[in-house]
């Protein structure tokens, strides 16, 4: 039997398979190259970048929760320039797509960031993290306010010729509605979900465990919520959807693909098993072979619901 086809197309971005890494859980790729060959991946999505470097939040920054973890890294990163100079050359050595996740405190910073990244050789697409507050305009979170969201995406859209993936926040009432806004503002694709805001209190200290008080919940705990939201998003928009949230193995990834996602991202699982993303690729192959399906695209969106 011929090996099944795993290649998918996300808004013109051709991936050898539908498996990416989730931003912030895979560093700049380097960290994992000791554990497996990055060529195995559909795409590497790097830690969120801002125009200048950021120091991030004080510690503790992480706390484990039942089947999940909260993080409040505070978007610590080396800044776009250092990324392009010091990290991108390494990633260019691999035959895998590089997707740069980016964010800003203002619309101007988003635009500037998108521009700088678009000019860099070896960045194949941009993923826009809109789950951060607009510090210029009353700390409204870009990704939970329809108006602000529309504005920032429209602006970023003009600043780049690369495929633009907008990463949706789950901290909303109707994520399908938010996806539609992204679509009409010019996004080529959407990804979902980002982390769900949570909090753990140390009852003896009577204080939150995290220095930042709240953090973002990720890991298997959120998977049922993520699958539901990705399903809703897939029904709401025509542009491709990248699904993520608690994927630990190929079976989990398949839930998102069957729900309609054209690609998936592996996040927290990388922390537990450094080869997790690569293992998901292998598992998908095996599933297709076992089920006698010759092309992963025949699976996508087949949920009977």
């Amino acid at each position: 039997m011929k090996a099944p086809n795993l290649a998918v197309d996300i808004a013109g971005l051709k991936l050898k398979n539908p498996v990416m890494t989730a931003s912030g859980t895979f560093g700049y790729g380097e960290e994992y190259s000791d554990y497996f060959d990055l060529n195995a991946l559909g795409a590497v999505v790097v830690k969120g970048l801002s125009v200048g470097p950021r120091t991030g939040n004080p510690t503790p920054r992480i706390v484990e929760t039942p089947s999940g973890m909260l993080n409040a890294i505070g978007l610590q990163n080396i800044g776009v320039k250092t990324f392009i100079d010091e990290k991108l050359p390494f990633l260019r050595r691999f035959d895998t797509k590089v997707i740069a996740n980016f964010f800003g405190d203002s619309i101007e910073e988003y635009v500037e960031c998108a521009r700088m990244l678009s000019d860099a050789e070896g960045v194949h697409a941009l993923e826009m993290n809109i789950s951060c507050p607009n510090k210029q305009e009353g700390w409204i979170v870009f990704g939970t306010d329809p108006m602000t969201m529309d504005k920032v995406i429209t602006a970023a859209r003009k600043a780049t010729g690369l495929p633009l993936i907008v990463k949706l926040s789950p901290n909303v009432k109707d994520i399908g509605q938010m996806a539609k806004i992204a679509e009409s503002a010019g996004a080529d694709a959407v990804s979902a979900i980002n982390t769900i805001t949570g909090m753990v209190i140390d009852v003896r200290k009577r204080a939150p465990v995290l220095a930042n008080k709240t953090g973002g919940l990720s890991g298997p705990a959120i998977r049922p919520v993520a699958v539901r939201m990705v399903w809703e998003v897939c029904r709401a928009v025509k542009i491709p959807v990248v699904g993520m949230g608690g994927i630990m193995n190929a079976e989990d990834a398949l839930q998102f693909l069957i729900a309609g996602a054209k690609a998936v991202a592996v996040g927290t699982a990388n922390f537990i098993t450094p080869s997790a993303a690569c293992d998901v690729v292998e598992g998908l192959k095996l599933f297709l072979e076992t089920e006698g399906v010759s092309d992963i695209n025949e699976i996508i969106g087949t949920v009977r619901a």
């Binding site: 470097p53 992480i62 999940g68 890294i73 610590q76």
Partner: protein, 256 residues
């Protein structure tokens, strides 16, 4: 390149109340660690607890790795439940090792911190002056062995049930005043102890290496969860990753 492997539990026995020693035998090729490096050990079969847990390598040889650990919370309770013959997932060796001491050195440790320093003592047999504090005699784990490996050894306990009653850092100060002038200091233990050791070393112009702990998610430098405030060339400070730039730091780099 085999930093991620399966290992068989050879045994997993109590070293004292609430302390266990687990011996692992990698079933595939694994790298040999250096003193001060650590491993991430699987914390159980399910997704709760979810994350691996970091442990300093206590002793090792070609075919086996030993970890000495205190049972604290859910992860270590789960690890304490592993049985002989179980296969567990392991990542490591990770992080920076202690710089190789060039002759005599002082080793300062509190509690289970001995796990990190023990292999350094072994590797530099007869070169260490050891300062080892614990809550009580029972928690002075591997006391006799550690004493044999050292040129000199001082023990303190909180309750006076072994060695001198008092703080290991007082013992260190006293010794430095009398004779320790030129030796570097290697320390691993609770954060407040390390801060004190660093201060003592600084006062006496001694090189000082500390092994730090922080909550970790990945252990391999990707999550930025385990950072400590450190001096930075740009800006007032920067965050360094305990799992990558550490766990062993030059005490001078750390913003205490």
């Amino acid at each position: 390149m085999h930093r991620h492997f399966k290992a068989k539990v050879v045994d997993n026995n109590f070293a004292a109340e609430a302390f266990k020693l687990i011996t692992l035998s990698p079933v595939s090729e694994a790298l040999v660690p250096l003193p001060g490096q650590f491993y991430m050990l699987e914390s159980g079969r399910s997704t709760d607890p979810l994350l691996k847990r970091p442990f300093s390598v206590f002793r090792f040889n070609e075919g086996s790795l030993q970890f000495l650990y205190r049972i604290r919370g859910r992860g270590t309770t789960s690890i304490a439940g592993f049985n002989k013959g179980d296969l567990i997932n392991v990542v490591g060796p990770l992080g920076k090792a202690y710089p190789e001491p060039d002759g005599r050195f002082m080793a300062v440790t509190g509690g289970v911190g001995i796990a990190s320093l023990y292999s350094l003592l072994e590797r530099n047999r007869g070169n260490s002056v050891l300062f080892y504090g614990a809550r009580n005699a029972a928690e002075l784990l591997y006391r006799e062995e550690a004493e044999k490996l050292s040129a000199k050894a001082f023990f303190t306990t909180d309750d006076g049930s072994a060695g001198e009653q008092g703080l290991v850092t007082d013992k260190l100060s006293e010794f430095i005043k009398n004779e320790g002038k030129s030796m570097p200091v290697y320390a691993c233990g609770p954060h407040p102890m390390l801060r004190k050791v660093a201060a003592i070393a600084k006062q006496n112009n001694l090189k000082c290496y500390v092994s730090l702990e922080e909550h970790m998610a990945c252990g391999i430098g990707a999550c930025l969860g385990c950072v400590v405030k450190a001096k930075s060339s740009v800006g007032d400070y920067g965050y360094k990753r305990v799992c990558k730039e550490g766990p062993v730091f030059d005490a001078d780099e750390v913003l205490w």
